[in-house]
Symmetry: D2
Subunit: 156 residues, 4 copies
């Protein structure tokens, strides 16, 4: 599509859909400019805390992250857990790592205005960290918990 | 923002960012019109198979689903697994269910053109199903595996 | 084997092996007499606490529960976690349940004189409970953690 | 207790309890003599197959491994899964490893004459293997499934 066609198609959208379009376009622009990644900006993740072995991440709850049942999609909750635990593990090791595996447990539907995921390292080895995470809504209701293993290759 | 302001902001984006904006705006429009949900359309999920106790879901791999390391974000892989297993479980029970928990294991970076998630029910009870899932890229490389429990309330 | 043959074979064992033989024979006798089960007595499990949604179980560490590497066998640690979480879940529901699944993470080798497994219910539903467990040695070192799902059929 | 006291106590047991006592005493003797471990002999594990990345282990089902509900204790099933996956991982790496974590899912009660646990490596890395396991009874009924991560330190 040419730029003109793209703009013409956009102009046909409703106001609300247009707002989502702008949110997505800007998220991609930011990711590109800052060398970060799209989903971080599009989901409007905020890192509200981050020290040795701990990290807290929040996202607003909107219809962009809902499943057909009107609650936050379990995959988005899993993404949040992965990010909070992965960042906690990074904060402990201070070098990049990858997720080996994670288990996510869903306790209550994710609803309300925002979700808060608190990750912490449970046990740290030379290469492998175990972490856990709690996801709560803004009332403090426990929405999900997760545990996972993170592998941090030896720095050379 | 007014509609004019939204369009003015959009007009400032690059062509590629504009294309992503349109993809998001249209996904939201479809979700609204069809009573489905945003992420399904935005991630361009395709259900390529679906019979009793089995389901296959694919998504294209693009920079929209990447993590900072340039591979598919583990949370998106988890979302795919949740969807493929949840749909397989629905196909077996023929009534709505929820994810109780899932474990996702990451074997190889998700790269290439698309990911294919194949879910199947391993064991079916009156209310609880166990399912498993394999995620492969288009070359057949095993990217991730998952297992999970799905709860389907008795229909009345 | 006749009783005489059994006793003759036993008489050939060393003193230490004989002590284990007696521990096993008595455990089976107790299980039979009390309608409980063999492993509980043989592993010398002690329930040191047990209230709503919580349970603590200890076992002595001896060569009976070791793996070839000279630390407590991961399967025995898993059994402890299953028991502590299952009992915690029972304490919350006050009706029998079964383990749907559990994840056990091994942090440090299980050594020393005894292991202490502390289980608690994380989230309680009508039929399903989520529980977690920590296993520590007598110095408080975190040996393992576990999470699991327990299903308690409706009482009628 | 002196040897005489041990034998006197043993002589008070019923025939069936005496048989269990002998099984335990002999298992300890074998473990000692062969440098293996007690539970392997006491549970009468048989390795019926074992090649690159695969392993099959069986145990007889007796009241020694039952839980209070008259089915195989979930902890014993977990121990079997740990052994079958751990051995499969060893068969792939050919050097010792440890279990990082495992998830066990219980599908049907373990009953009948014996359980067969079949482990295989799903994905092999330089240091970490992912394995899975199926546990079936002698009729082929799926009793449990498991997945796990195994860490094999670099040999030097």
């Amino acid at each position: 599509m040419t730029r003109q066609e793209l703009l013409a198609e956009l102009a046909r959208l409703s106001d609300e859909d247009l707002a989502v379009a702008l949110q997505a376009g800007r998220a991609r622009e930011k990711a590109r400019q800052r060398g970060t990644y799209f989903l971080h900006h599009f989901l409007q993740e905020r890192r509200v805390e981050g020290e040795d072995g701990r990290a807290v991440i929040t996202i607003p709850v909107s219809d962009l992250v809902m499943n057909p049942g009107g609650m936050v999609h379990g995959g988005i909750t899993a993404l949040l857990c992965d990010n909070a635990m992965g960042m906690a593990s990074y904060m402990e090791k201070r070098r990049p790592g990858v997720t080996v595996e994670m288990t996510v447990r869903y306790h209550r539907p994710g609803r309300g205005d925002r979700l808060v995921a608190s990750g912490e390292v449970l046990s740290a080895g030379a290469l492998l960290n175990s972490a856990r995470c709690e996801v709560r809504d803004e009332d403090g209701t426990l929405v999900a918990t997760a545990t996972g293993t993170f592998y941090h290759r030896q720095s050379r």
